[in-house]
């Protein structure tokens, strides 16, 4: 059974702005899928429809056998714990230390007051330290997040998501604010999380060459519609040109060899 199915999902912000129209796909457990598309194509909205940060206008999202749209508040919180999310701008609480930010990944599991007051069990703290070691941040545990570099912040973001013990990781432009070196580090971590921990990854990217290098399967989104869904090796230059508009397509493909690997 698929881990995630998106069926006929549309999102209209108002009559004129249509972010998604009739999007359908299914993600199997353990897949590493990259969604490509130009800015404003609806990639971010698509990811946010999956954990209902954005409510869909029509269509059905099914995650792990649950109809996401029909969940009540408590069930939704429970479902969200199983879906980790990382962001382009990391979205950490800058005034708190790395460990506190990572522990936020446990909030969905805790009673409201224990979570609000920041009371975590020894086991949760030990798990947080293990996850931080996994992303290579054991030295920065007590450092405030605003003192970290972009790449380090994103690794804190990954650690926070991992502490949720997720089945699915949604990554919204995880490397768009990073330099090429940090980008490679982050993509390698995501790949490692996918292969070693078996966590399904759904990654939004607009760097085609990186998508080609890392993805097993690519979903191309153009103006709110899925225009390609298939294995990476079957993606043709024409399709990329179609997704991005032809001149941009040339540019993106041409730079591919320089960055990958």
């Amino acid at each position: 059974m698929s881990l995630l199915t998106v069926k006929g999902v549309s999102k209209h912000y108002n009559e004129r702005i249509v972010a998604l129209s009739d999007v359908s796909f299914a993600i199997e457990p353990g897949e590493f899928v990259v969604i490509i598309g130009s800015s404003g194509a609806g990639k971010s909205t698509l990811l946010r429809c999956i954990n209902r940060i954005v409510e869909v206008t029509s269509g059905v999202v099914t995650f792990d056998g649950l109809d996401v749209g029909s969940l009540d508040k408590r069930e939704l919180r429970k479902m969200r714990t199983k879906v980790g999310m990382i962001f382009q701008h990391y979205n950490l609480v800058n005034r708190l230390c790395v460990l506190e930010n990572v522990l936020h990944g446990r909030l969905g599991y805790k009673s409201t007051w224990a979570g609000a007051l920041g009371i975590y069990s020894e086991e949760e703290k030990a798990q947080a330290l293990r996850v931080l070691r996994l992303v290579g941040l054991e030295e920065q545990v007590y450092q405030r997040c605003d003192q970290l570099s972009g790449g380090q912040k994103q690794r804190v973001g990954i650690a926070r998501a991992l502490l949720q013990d997720p089945k699915l990781l949604l990554c919204d432009e995880p490397i768009s604010s990073l330099d090429p070196n940090a980008s490679k580090v982050i993509m390698d971590y995501l790949k490692k999380i996918n292969t070693e921990l078996g966590i399904t990854c759904l990654v939004n990217l607009h760097q085609v060459h990186i998508a080609l290098a890392y993805a097993e399967r690519i979903i191309g989104v153009k103006r709110g519609r899925v225009v390609y869904d298939g294995l990476t090796e079957h993606l043709t230059a024409e399709t990329i040109h179609d997704i991005y508009g032809s001149e941009a397509g040339d540019l993106l493909l041409g730079s591919g060899g320089n960055h990958v690997g």
Partner: protein, 288 residues
Amino acid sequence: MQREQSLAPLWQPKVRPRLGQHRALNKPLDKGTLFMRLTMAIFLALTVLAFASFDYQGLNIYNAFLGTIANFRVLMLSPQLTHFSLVEAAEGMLITLSLALLTTVIGAILALFFGLLAAQNLSSPLISGLIKGGVAFIRAVPTILWVLIFAIAAGLGSVAAVTGMAFHSVGYLVKAYAEAFEEVDSGVIEALRATGASWWQIVCQAVLPTAQSYLLSWTFVRFEINFVGALAMGAAAGAGGLGFDLFLASAHYFDLREVGFITYLVLAVALVLETITTQIKVRLRVQT
């Protein structure tokens, strides 16, 4: 020389000002400028008219001026306590500071809660709008009026003063707090929602830690305002403290020296408060 020559064209205006634009520094005479000038002209006319039509009642301006200067000299240069002891004055100051602290604390606690509900990113548009409208009304009515309104029920005195000042503090701080909360990066709130965190968890774990320096600094600003308010309320609403002593010294004993002494005392405390506020702000800014 060559360099100067090459720079020269830069100093010449590219477009020559047209006729009539010279005097207005090239600013065209648009609606705003016209309105501004008209207002100024009216103010000027009114000022002249007012001075011409005052009823001076045979007042000798020169003598009056000298008398005022003399009074100020007594006030400023020979401060002295006659009707109170220094201990009593210190006690009065303590009461005034307590009034300020009490009203600020009550105001801050209530404002924290209502501020969260008034912040657009944490609340529904309806609730946020209602609260913001409500506190705008509370702020628009001056503190002294609230004290007098509460005095209808509580009688003139410290109860009415504390209630009225705390009420106005809530109005002030809700706005300040709500704005501080709205400054919090929406992405951070989104990230915590995505982990399955509940509203209170997001507030305590993301919003308050991010906004705390603003909250503290606004609360201190309000404490300073309430200190001045407590002084005035002591005199006007009989709330006690140094304000009431000041009222007795001036309106009851007509003792300029004592008023002078109390003024210096207030000035000293205000300076200390100001210094503390500045220090706190500096420290918080270093941290952010």
